[in-house]
Every structure is written in structure tokens, then in C-alpha cells.
């Protein structure tokens, strides 16, 4: 397929990519060569060794904290597992270096995976506690299991690979490892997994609804973080040939964390920079020797208050002010493919809700509701405040588990499926309080929608074309690279719709899409919905604005106190006395309203 837009845009990108890659490799080669051949004094050598191996471990935090937003206070423990793997492997067990390294890294990764599986269902401070507990227990084991780990005396005489036995080449090896890992971590951000991580970080609820398996994503992030921790530790052990338990304590985990935060945990370059800075800084601040750690601590507070995205984050903000993102010249973008030709034609109803019940404690939010949504129709769900509309929608999305009842989607029983599984079957949704992934740009937000399970798009250029097509449908293709936070509310609403459309949904749930929009924006929304109808999409819309609902709905279901009180064509339903009474209050023929 040859379209000019793709060519102009991606030609520019490709050229840039090739140049960037070449530059990176050149700089890497130069650094590695320089480091291998220059005879540094032992002191400098050690510093560089520490910096490079620490940086690899801290890049693990970039993945788990920066990309995925999960707190990991046990990175030093994983570092230690890798270190002890190499130390014990080469001394006690007489294994070759590479085998020992592999063992150490594998052990660290497994520990990370197990820890992740156990604890990522809990969040926040619970996760922090689990990682701290693990860290503490590991430190104790390293110190006290003297038979195996040699205890506080530590292990000396740790081996190195024969080709890299000398300090110069070994340092070159570490630096090479850093460049490789740095590149991989940088690239991860642009992959499907990387996007899933960022979505989970920015809005876990929405991520699940849009098709991301958030639990698995978090466990993967945790495992990768532990892997890199172990790798750094293994190289560290080989570099210094002596290790002891106190190098892998909770304080070191805190040091790793600070390094990640200072540079900017979301940016690989930032974390490496932060690591280097915090290792070099004590040297430059020799005169502050006694209080420099205190300054350290104070710095963490100040960073959190004034530069929560670290130095790199701050730099990016400045850069964006100097060079704001220009609108993308898009030219011809192929039209968005929507609709599912050749579906299950024998099912007239896309969605069938039977006897749905949702109780919260004593409150009956949804009280035995039946509803059928016909294929290719626009079905509105209305009702006064507190009538159960939002609860019903949340049960449909899988955010709430129903107390009783059944939901059939295109003939399949989805009542107990998780949100991301429902997305995989073609259920799309937008939220009343817009839930976009705020730290990603517009295009990435839409790409995540396109990457929902079961949507055969392919990667790379095809994915980008598809995402741009979805944006073009809502008229925002030229703003693909802007940050979502800077857009107007109405435009954010459109991006959310594009994100859902990119997943080629069979059924689209729109939760108060008109909320917060002004008159003109609402008119635009109505036109958009009418176009969607023409594409063979089934839509369920919840809204309060009756003018809007009247214009687009084929059928309306009315809820009140969790029960459905009317169902039918708009003209009939909106004139139904029960419905009027539900909204305006009971109309008593006798009551002349006055006291």
C-alpha cells in the first residue's frame, strides 16, 4: 500500500532512526574502546565499574517504576542475588563466569517473578512492604547463612571470564553491557509491552477495560526489573572480586531508588545520568563528606517537590516549551476499517442482559434489569441521578462483578470475564470522567486501543497507520504527537473515542460522552455518532442530555432506582408518564404545587 502520508512521515522517521542508531553505535564503540585501552588508576577504575554496573540495575527500576509505576524497594536484593550467584558460582562451585552469571540472573528473575505474582494484586504501600520484607529477609540470610554464603566475611577471589580477565577489558565489557541494556530499555517503551506498562501506570482501570492484562504486565515489569538487578550485581561481583552482605542492604535499595528518581525514572538516559551523578557527586563534594548523605536525603525531598520527573523530566519540559510539537502533516490516510462483516447473523441482539442484579451492601444499585441491544443500533440508557446507569455500565465492562444475572455478548456468556477479556471480544468503552493515559501522547493512546487482544493489526507501520486512521475519523490526526494533557476537554473526549474505535469494537459503550462539552462540541459529537451508525457499529450510550439522546438513539431504556421502567422508541419513552415522573417527580393531578 502506497500512501503519501505514510511515506513522508515514516521516511522522515526512518532516516532519523538510521542516523540515531548509527550515532549510538559509534559513541558506544568509542566509549568502549576508550575505556578498554586507557590505563586508569585503580580508584577511577572502581568508580567506573560501580557506575556502570549500578546503572544496569537502576535501568531495572526504569522499567518497574518509571514505565509501570510500581514501587520496588528490593532492587539491592536482586542485585545481591546476581552478585552472590557469580561469587559462589566461581568460587565454591568452580563454574565458568558466564554460567555463574546466567545462574545468578536466572535466580534473581525467578525471585522477582514469584514476588510479583504474590504481591501485585495488592498495590501501593502493601507492595512497598512486601519488597522491603523480601529485602530484609534476604539481607539476614546473606549475613547469617554462614555455611553457604560465608556470612559477614564475604566472598573474595571472585572469577572473571578468561577473555576479560584484565581490568580494562572487563570494564569495557560492563560498559558494552550498559549500552546494550540502555538501548533495550529505551526501545521497550516503544513496544506493545512498553505501552501496556505505561497505560497500567497512568490509569490501571482504563488500561484493563481497553484490553491490557494489567496483572501480567506488572508481573513482567517486576521480573524484568529483577533480571536487570541480577545482571548488574553479577557484573559488579566480577568487577570487584570481593563482595559482602552489607553492600546489598535496604539502604542500597534506597540509593538505587534515589538514582532513578534524580535523573528521571521514566527516561533511561535520565536514570543512567542520575546514577553517574550520584556516584561522582561524593567525589566532587568531598568537602561535604560527613554531611553529604544528609544532603542526599534533603535532595530527594526537594526533587519530589520541585522536579518529580527528575532532571530529564525537567529538561524535557523546557525543551517542549522551546520547540512545541508541530501539527503533523498527514496527507492521505486510509479510511478506518470498522465493522465486522460476516458476523453471527443469526444473533439479532449484540448484547443481551438478563436479570442483572448488583448490590452494594444493602443498596440495590441494579435490580433485575433486562435489556437487549440490537445489532447496528444506537441504544440509549437514561435515568435520573442514582438510578443505576453507571453501575450497570460498570458491570457490563467487567469493573464490577454482578450479584446475579447474565450478560450475553454476541451469543457468548461474558458475565464472569475480566475487563481485558471483554475488550478482546470487541467490547469498547469510553468513560464519563475521561480516562486517557496522561503521560503518553495522543497516538500512543490510540495505539493501545488498537492493540487489544483479538484485533489483527500487525505491528510497526501498519499499527501506526491504523491508529492515524482512527484519529482521522474523529478529525485529530494532525495532533497525533501532542500530549493529551494539553488538549481541550472536548478533544480529549474525541481521543478517547478514537482509542476505542482503533480496537474495531463490535459494541461501543459511551458513558456520558456529552458531559463537559459545549454546544458546538455536542453538535460535533452527534454528527460523529451518526457516522458511526453508518459503519455498522452497535452503540450503547448513557447520557443526561435528552436533546442529544433524542437525535441519535433508535431505542431508549430508562432506569429508576435500579429497575428498568420503560423501554422503546424515543418518542414514546420520553412521553411516558412514568418516565416524566421519575425525572420531574410524581405528577399528582390534584397537587397544585404550593404550600
Amino acid at each position: 500500500m502506497s500512501d503519501r502520508a505514510s511515506r513522508t512521515a515514516s521516511n522522515a522517521l526512518s532516516a532519523g532512526k538510521v542516523f540515531g542508531a548509527g550515532l549510538y553505535i559509534a559513541v558506544a564503540a568509542a566509549t568502549i574502546g576508550f575505556v578498554t585501552l586507557t590505563p586508569f588508576p585503580a580508584y577511577t577504575l572502581n568508580l567506573l565499574m560501580q557506575a556502570s554496573t549500578y546503572a544496569i540495575a537502576v535501568l531495572g527500576l526504569t522499567i518497574v517504576l518509571g514505565y509501570s509505576g510500581q514501587i520496588n524497594l528490593a532492587q539491592a536484593a536482586f542485585f545481591g542475588i546476581g552478585a552472590y550467584g557469580v561469587a559462589l558460582g566461581t568460587t565454591t562451585f568452580g563454574l565458568p563466569f558466564w554460567v555463574a552469571l546466567l545462574t545468578g540472573v536466572a535466580a534473581a528473575s525467578m525471585a522477582g517473578a514469584v514476588l510479583g505474582l504474590m504481591s501485585l494484586r495488592l498495590g501501593g504501600h502493601y507492595l512497598a512492604m512486601v519488597t522491603i520484607s523480601f529485602q530484609t529477609i534476604l539481607s539476614l540470610v546473606l549475613t547469617n547463612w554462614i555455611d553457604f554464603t560465608k556470612g559477614p566475611d564475604g566472598i573474595s577471589g571472585i572469577g572473571r571470564p578468561t577473555q576479560f580477565a584484565k581490568s580494562g577489558p572487563y570494564l569495557g565489557l560492563c560498559i558494552a553491557g550498559l549500552y546494550l541494556v540502555g538501548y533495550l530499555v529505551w526501545h521497550l517503551r516503544r513496544t506493545r509491552l512498553g505501552r501496556a506498562m505505561q497505560a497500567t501506570r497512568d490509569n490501571e482501570l482504563a488500561a484493563g477495560v481497553v484490553g491490557v492484562n494489567t496483572y501480567l504486565t506488572k508481573v513482567t515489569a517486576f521480573t524484568l526489573s529483577a533480571l536487570l538487578g541480577g545482571l548488574g550485581g553479577g557484573l559488579f561481583a566480577g568487577g570487584f572480586s570481593y563482595i559482602s552482605p552489607d553492600q546489598f542492604s535496604f539502604s542500597e535499595s534506597v540509593v538505587f531508588l534515589t538514582m532513578a528518581l534524580l535523573g528521571g525514572s521514566r527516561f533511561p538516559f535520565g536514570t543512567v545520568f542520575g546514577t553517574g551523578l550520584l556516584i561522582m557527586l561524593p567525589e566532587w563534594l568531598r568537602f561535604l563528606k560527613t554531611i553529604y548523605l544528609a544532603v542526599y536525603g534533603g535532595a530527594v525531598i526537594l526533587i519530589m517537590v520541585f522536579m518529580p520527573d527528575g532532571i530529564m523530566g525537567f529538561a524535557v519540559v523546557i525543551w517542549r516549551k522551546i520547540r512545541p510539537i508541530k501539527p503533523l502533516a498527514t496527507g492521505d490516510i486510509p479510511p478506518l476499517t470498522l465493522g465486522h462483516p460476516g458476523g453471527r447473523e443469526e444473533q439479532p441482539a449484540t448484547l443481551k442482559i438478563s436479570g442483572l442484579v448488583k448490590h452494594f451492601g444493602g443498596v440495590k444499585a441494579v435490580d433485575e434489569v433486562d435489556m437487549q441491544v440490537e445489532r447496528n443500533s444506537v441504544h440509549a440508557l437514561i435515568g435520573p441521578n442514582g438510578s443505576g446507569k453507571t453501575s450497570l455500565l460498570n458491570v457490563l465492562s467487567g469493573i464490577y462483578r454482578p450479584t446475579a444475572g447474565r450478560i450475553d455478548f454476541d451469543g457468548e456468556n461474558i458475565t464472569h470475564l475480566k475487563p481485558y477479556q471483554r475488550a478482546g471480544l470487541g467490547l469498547g468503552r469510553t468513560f464519563q470522567n475521561i480516562r486517557l493515559f496522561t503521560d503518553m501522547n495522543v497516538l500512543d493512546n490510540v495505539k493501545i486501543g488498537a492493540e487489544r487482544p483479538g484485533n489483527a493489526i500487525g505491528g510497526g507501520a501498519a499499527l501506526e497507520r491504523h491508529a492515524l486512521a482512527a484519529l482521522e475519523f474523529v478529525g485529530l490526526a494532525n495532533r497525533a504527537f501532542e500530549a493529551v494533557g494539553s488538549m481541550s476537554y472536548g478533544h480529549q473526549r474525541l481521543v478517547e473515542i478514537a482509542r476505542a474505535l482503533a480496537g474495531n469494537p463490535k459494541l461501543l459503550l459511551l458513558d456520558e460522552p456529552g458531559a463537559g462539552l459545549n454546544h458546538a462540541e455536542k453538535d460535533g459529537l452527534v454528527l460523529l455518532l451518526e457516522r458511526l451508525k453508518g459503519h455498522g457499529l452497535t452503540i450503547v450510550i448513557v447520557d443526561h442530555d435528552m436533546h442529544l439522546v433524542e437525535r441519535v438513539a433508535d431505542r431508549i431504556t430508562v432506569l429508576n432506582f435500579g429497575r428498568h421502567i420503560a423501554d422503546g422508541a424515543p418518542a414514546d419513552v420520553l412521553r411516558n408518564p412514568d418516565v416524566v415522573a421519575a425525572y420531574l417527580g410524581k405528577v399528582d393531578a390534584n397537587a397544585a404545587p404550593r404550600a
Binding site: 504501600h125 536525603g297 525531598i301
Partner: protein, 291 residues
């Protein structure tokens, strides 16, 4: 049997320290939704203050206690203004990290000022303790238990029987609604920090004669107090106290019957078990259900 009682007594003693620190923790969490990683360092500051005042400046014990408590109150206010207040509207991650930073700052500040030598505070009692049967009741431990009981009682009276306590509870439960009733929310939070800081400092004063007073003592106590409050039920005041006492007892028995070097691990193992099977702890988080 005598040994078991002895261990129980010792366990309750050390558990009381955890309970006091956990209590301060939970109060701050309830009022501000912040997990204060520097809580243990309040204890460390209290212990160091006593050391400096009684040993270095040779002051009378009781005067030192008075000055320490006052200093901790002021410190609590400063902590609120410097660490919590600027971040009060941010998400929980920056705040946790900030309190970790505060912890580093405090520990290394004290380290820089005082040096790395651990100190030991001499006991202030004439008699070492007394015996009942085979059980020996160490004076300092008795004092710890007595003071803890007094503080828990005081806390109960303050929160359940005074109007101020009710206002503070209201602030923890719904800050905005409290402000709509004219309750000065910022002041309530300030009082919470001050009181929490005093609790922490008091724990430090009490435990100083028993442990070595060192810069790192705060962190280890904090971690255990944190674990204790989760075991008891995070956010629950009774849970903090019960969890702290339980942790102290488990640790002491574990050290005696299983292994001394791994003493510190027992608490965390218990915590891990709870996190896996009953994350809401013994008393759970009440008032859950949100529609």
C-alpha cells in the same frame, strides 16, 4: 512455663515500642493518607536527644525527658510543614519517596552531628527490677509497659471523649466535609503530626536504655512498626497496638526457640503470610464498601 512467661513479658515490652511507633504511623495515615517512612526516625531522634542531654550535657533525667518531648513536638510541626504540606495534593508515590528522603536526611544529619559510635544510656533506676517466681521483671521494661498503657488510655480518652478528638476523627474520615463544618483542617493535621512525633520520640526515650542508641535504630523499628500495623489491620488504631505487641512477642519467642540471628526475619515472615492470605490484617479496614 516460667520461661514462657518471661519471654512473654519481654516480648510485650519490645512490642510496646513497636506499638507506640505504629500508633503514630497510623494516626498520620488516617489523617493524611500518607505512609510516613520516617516515623521510626522520630524514635531515633528521641533516643539521641536523651543521650545528648543526659550524657553530654549532664542534665537531670526528668528534665531531659521534658525537653525531648517539647523538642519532638516542635519537630513534628516542622516535619508537617517541610515534608507533608508541599506534597499534600500529590499522589502517594512522591509522598512515600519524600518521607524516605526525610528518613535519610535525619539519619545522616544525626550521623554527621554526632558520629557513628553507638551509645548506651545507663539505666536510671536504682533497682534492676524484681522477681515473681521464676520471672524477672526488668525495671525498664516495666516502665515501657506502664507508659504504653498510659499513652493508649490517653489516646482513647482524647479521641473518644473530647471534642477535639472528635474533630480530629472527622478530619481523618472526610476532610472536605470537616472543613464544611468549620473544622480547621490544617490545624487538625498539624496536631496529628505533633502528637505522632511525640509518640515516636517517647518510644525512643523508653527504648534507649535497652538498645544501643545508634543512627540506624529508627529504620529497623520503623519497618517493624509498619509491618505490625499491616498485621493489625492497616489504618486501624487498635490494630496498630495489637499488631505491635503481637510482633514483639512473636519475635522474642522466635529468637528463643528457633534462631537468634534470624530474629528480625520472623516479623517479616508473619507479615508476608498476612499479605498473602489476609491483607486486611486482624482488624481489617473498617468502613469499606464504595459504590
Amino acid at each position: 512455663m516460667g520461661t514462657a512467661l518471661q519471654l512473654l513479658f519481654t516480648g510485650l515490652g519490645i512490642g510496646s515500642i513497636y506499638a507506640l511507633v505504629a500508633l503514630g504511623f497510623v494516626l498520620i495515615y488516617r489523617a493524611t493518607n500518607v505512609v510516613n517512612f520516617a516515623q521510626g526516625d522520630f524514635a531515633m531522634l528521641g533516643a539521641f536527644s536523651m543521650t545528648v542531654l543526659t550524657i553530654n550535657l549532664g542534665m537531670h533525667y526528668w528534665l531531659s525527658i521534658l525537653i525531648t518531648i517539647t523538642a519532638m513536638a516542635i519537630f513534628g510541626a516542622l516535619f508537617n510543614l517541610g515534608v507533608y504540606y508541599p506534597l499534600r495534593n500529590r499522589s502517594f508515590l512522591p509522598v512515600i519517596i519524600s518521607t524516605i528522603g526525610a528518613s535519610i536526611l535525619l539519619e545522616n544529619g544525626v550521623l554527621a552531628a554526632y558520629g557513628p559510635q553507638p551509645q548506651s544510656l545507663p539505666s536510671v533506676f536504682e533497682s534492676q527490677g524484681f522477681s515473681i517466681g521464676t520471672v524477672f521483671f526488668d525495671s525498664q521494661y516495666v516502665v515501657i509497659l506502664v507508659v504504653t498503657v498510659i499513652m493508649v488510655a490517653f489516646q482513647y480518652l482524647l479521641f473518644e471523649r473530647t471534642l477535639l478528638g472528635k474533630k480530629m476523627q472527622a478530619t481523618s474520615q472526610d476532610k472536605e466535609m470537616a472543613s464544611m463544618l468549620g473544622i480547621p483542617v490544617a490545624l487538625m493535621i498539624m496536631i496529628t503530626f505533633i502528637y505522632s512525633s511525640i509518640l515516636g520520640g517517647l518510644a525512643g526515650v523508653l527504648v534507649a536504655p535497652i538498645l544501643f542508641v545508634s543512627v540506624g535504630m529508627g529504620s529497623s523499628i520503623a519497618l517493624k512498626a509498619f509491618a505490625a500495623s499491616i498485621i493489625g489491620g492497616f489504618g486501624d488504631v487498635t490494630g496498630a497496638v495489637v499488631g505491635g505487641l503481637a510482633l514483639g512477642v512473636v519475635e522474642t519467642f522466635g529468637a528463643a526457640y528457633i534462631s537468634v540471628p534470624y530474629k528480625d526475619a520472623f516479623g517479616f515472615l508473619v507479615l508476608l503470610v498476612f499479605l498473602l492470605f489476609r491483607p486486611q490484617g486482624i482488624f481489617g479496614e473498617r468502613i469499606a464498601e464504595k459504590a
